[in-house]
């Protein structure tokens, strides 16, 4: 199973193996990673699963759809070139070892 490394805003690190196809949001919420709220349950409605993807993995991610792009415009923490919504990206072999940083203040 692909491994995902979540780094909370306060620095706590979680290394979690996710089933193939599970979203990064699901992995975070189900394993109690702080700062990923996912109020809408993965419908791309609330932008509370905002993460910063480590540079090394950025280009390996599937391109974002327009709705994710728009939602990211309204996140609470600052959007950067590394911003994605955790509910829109799924664990895969190619992304094994990916590092996701959780922004401060949701």
């Amino acid at each position: 199973m692909p491994k995902v490394i979540y780094i909370e805003a306060e620095g706590k690190t979680h290394e979690i193996e996710l089933p193939l196809g599970a979203t990064f949001m699901e992995g975070a919420v189900q394993n109690d990673v702080k700062g990923i709220i996912a109020e809408c349950g993965g419908s791309c409605m609330c932008a509370t699963c905002h993460v910063y993807v480590d540079d090394a993995y950025l280009n390996l991610l599937p391109e974002m759809e327009e709705e994710e792009d728009e939602m990211l415009e309204g996140t609470i923490a600052q959007r950067t070139a590394n911003s994605r919504l955790g509910c829109q990206v799924r664990a895969s072999k190619a992304l094994d070892g990916i590092i996701l940083r959780i922004p401060k203040e949701k």
């Binding site: 089933p19 599970a22 979203t23 699901e26 919420v29 189900q30 394993n31 109690d32 702080k34 109020e39 809408c40 349950g41 993965g42 419908s43 791309c44 409605m45 932008a47 709705e67 728009e70 939602m71 415009e73 309204g74 996140t75």
Partner: protein
Amino acid sequence: MKKRVVIIGAGHGGVQAASTLREEGFEGEIIMISDELDAPYQKPPLSKGYLQGKQNAQAILFRSENYYNDNAIDLKLGVRVAKIDSEKNEINLSDGAVIAYNYLIIATGACNRRLRFNGHIAEKVYYLRNFSDAKMIEEKINPASHIVIIGGGFIGLELAALAVEKNKKVTVIETEDRLMKRVLPETLSKVFYETHVAHGVEMILGVSVVDIIDGKKIKLSDGNEIDADLILAGIGVIVESELTENSEVLFNNGIVVNPFQQTNIENIYAIGDCANHYNPFAKKSLRLESVQNAVDQAKVAAAHIVERPFEYNTVPWFWTNQYHLKLQMAGISFGFDEAIIRQSPKPECFSVYYFKEEKLIGVDSLNRPADHLNARKLLTAGISPSKMEVADFEFNLSGLLKQEI
């Protein structure tokens, strides 16, 4: 001595209350009781991703299997609370057990209103509320070819959209003269109506159902009859008073709470769909049926228990997904005196801004998620753009927020 919090209900509110208590450092016992057999799961995906086959049972769970154990949350599934004894600070369970509490949080949600004819509940009509309902509908929907949905509200229409995606013949019957009339203006009802019709849904508006025979034949108020393989209904929810009936807890269109979610009994809280609260955005007492309300009220109740109290004061928001239409609602637009449309250059992408006495009170956004998130920030900050600014798509509304900071 260690304090004990008992939470009745393991939906969005119940699970959030337990999590927040632990996050806030509550060290006492937490017992969470659910009358369902399924491990706690999220409700919105039931009528969307789950029944569409895009999210499986595992994906919709709130937490991993180990979470409850790891966080010392004693989850009791498949039991009902029969009675609350606020004198003794204990509850009686359906299996005969008695549990004492220091704090009780009632997060029991609401239940579906059911169709009744001649004093009897209509048989073989299926409703969606819980995971077990979704599994039942999943099983029934596959062999059916003509599905009739009673009720043109959010749930009914989400079910219609997913039945269409499964290549079913779909008929929707709605008593009102337009869809989602209770919550949407005519402009938006129209977009949804046209989209459903374009997808082949037969819409019957302004007509009510007068009888249902054996879950197969529907008799309408205009004298027509419709044959169906499967009848689904989404005609609103009610909060039952049963749980609080023989207790001292005050019930009046839900369990009455103060801004800290306390009921009239100070160590009993109510949160989510079942809580009748004064809402500062609606400027009146009401119940809200939404994930946002359940989650945010859970945080308020938990914070009060750990003695770091703050009042419930969050902008209400709701959403529905049907086909390619994504509708997000912020604030409470009830009682508006003017609605201004902010139209993007793209079709089916606009937001409606509602004003009351020149003040922005709510925004409905259709395929405009950025407008929605921005609207929630404006409403939270109490910033009203002018009607001219709203109507001008070139005007940058989020700029108003930056000025404040």
